[in-house]
Symmetry: C2
Subunit: 353 residues, 2 copies
Amino acid sequence: DYKQLDKIIVGVCGGDGIGPAITKQAQRVLEYLLKDEVASGKVEFKVIDGLTIERRAEEMKAIPDDVLEELKECHVILKGPTTTPRKGDEWPNVESANVAMRKALDLFANVRPVRIPEQGIDWTFYRENTEGGYAAGKEGVQVTEDLGIDFTIATKEGCDRIIRAAFEFAKANGKTRVTAVTKANIIKTTDGKFLDCFYRIAKEYPDIQADDWYIDIMTAKLIDENRRRGFQVVVLPNLYGDIITDEAAEFQGGVGTAGSANIGKRYAMFEAIHGSAPRMVKEGRDIYADPCSVIRAGAMLLSHIGYTKEADKLYKALDICTVTEKKLVITGRDTGATGEEFADYIMETIERI
Amino acid sequence: DYKQLDKIIVGVCGGDGIGPAITKQAQRVLEYLLKDEVASGKVEFKVIDGLTIERRAEEMKAIPDDVLEELKECHVILKGPTTTPRKGDEWPNVESANVAMRKALDLFANVRPVRIPEQGIDWTFYRENTEGGYAAGKEGVQVTEDLGIDFTIATKEGCDRIIRAAFEFAKANGKTRVTAVTKANIIKTTDGKFLDCFYRIAKEYPDIQADDWYIDIMTAKLIDENRRRGFQVVVLPNLYGDIITDEAAEFQGGVGTAGSANIGKRYAMFEAIHGSAPRMVKEGRDIYADPCSVIRAGAMLLSHIGYTKEADKLYKALDICTVTEKKLVITGRDTGATGEEFADYIMETIERI
Ligand SMILES: CC(C)[C@H](C(=O)O)[C@@H](O)C(=O)O
Ligand SMILES: CC(C)[C@H](C(=O)O)[C@@H](O)C(=O)O
């Protein structure tokens, strides 16, 4: 329970690209909602700005040591997007900072809600966040110039803890069904293990219906308006979680509208699920970047640390601003609004509800 | 050129579950369309019926030796679905027969078209069909009871040939864009290789625009009605191809409506992309199984071996029966029609167009 702490330290790690610009706006909104706590010293916001692609490339490290130290001093973290280098990029081959942080802080549960009330959609995805195809970091094996191998791993402990988290969430929230998604007919050892663990743990929750689908057919089922309503809690290995949650977010208005919670035993990190949009920065348009997704991540953070009332206000304001009134929208391309103006608008809206 | 052959041997391999019932109907339709060729001996249909789950389980082989021999005597194959055992199943852990056949006959290109003319959608997916996460068959490594590892591989030759096939198809069909889909930011060695090969080969086709997206965001883009129209030819590693083509087929009416061509240098195999529906067989309802998808695979087969006129007739009849008139639909659950009645209806329709 965070409220028991003398002081809750909230790290604000902007990342790079449009990250610093949008997390700054999210921080403004959170500080506004928690102004009494900030004034009394109960909550402290700590800006961590060393997680840039430039420093990561220079040091050839996914997370520079001093940044990792700073992160570990926080209780919860609000994170902006970080540029992920890839082969053929202008950047050297360092591991994704997202992935490195999930592993370094052991944030094993990536929780991504997608809600479209008017369509009866209320999904919560529990994506395993430390194993699968992501475990090896940048280390595949280039056997010869002509043959490359990558690995995917699954441990019993790793599978168990994410599956149990999904069932516990279902139980605590009155959900009646948990669905696993794998490709266990082909990726037999690791996905097979995931599925074994799933049905073993399911037995401990006799009141909750457990079923599973393959990832290929699952992408189709999410589109089928008659069947998709039936999904409630979905638990998936890392890569399938990555894929399905982007698809699912699209129904809600795109990855720009979704936030993501990365939760471990000790730390928790909240982030936008979109990228760092380096092009916008190059063109000097980062002040127009839409902070909506990272503000939504901020709302998840508030509710995680126990400020439920403030979180609810923020969710409501986000809904009013982005769905009902839709006055200022995505990236300001349409309206010319800046991220700062959007944050102002959110705060004004909170004021009047 | 198949028409140069003295005799074209078309293998009809029913598989198991509803497979034999539906491929039988597809064969009836093809024999009807090629009745003169069958009469003259130019085309011979050869039923291959040993690819059942029972035999595969008994012999612990994905494809029994005699079946593989028979398959290799054919020029092209029409294949029904085969049950894929998985961990925890009633069946032992034998490799998927689909996957084994793709590898045994070196059918490296899995070509899956999705067309929705009224929405401006005309996509052709080129899925790599022999490597990636599928290459290892059932062989992962169970390091300890608690740790499992699976592999994914990519070879330069394997990437090059599917990518080249996609560009050649684009060129021959006046397409202006080829898109690669990977997760090269994470699965760096194999997907990185795929992407390297993609941009290297793209240089040989300066008139065709080449771009790439990550698989997660691609599943979202396919849903976005403004952006999806822009895709034309899409080339993907095996697993991503598996996932994306099921999603794409859903827009067209579901996996039940899509056919799939598996093409190699020497052999070609055409199949439905849905499963074997063992439940229907258990309940004695396999005569009601919808043969639409495997008949569509038959149309692809006809056009592959050069009987374009017959193929076009069949495509047209399928459109009339399933879209325009919609008299008899999926699995007969709605109308009580059997697969045989559906095939009759297709043939009557061909008669009158
Ligand atoms: C940027 C990328 C490394 C990341 C992932 O693949 O996990 C992103 O897609 C996400 O879903 O958070
Ligand atoms: C049945 C299964 C092994 C197969 C695959 O994964 O390739 C199927 O989904 C397909 O797309 O043909």
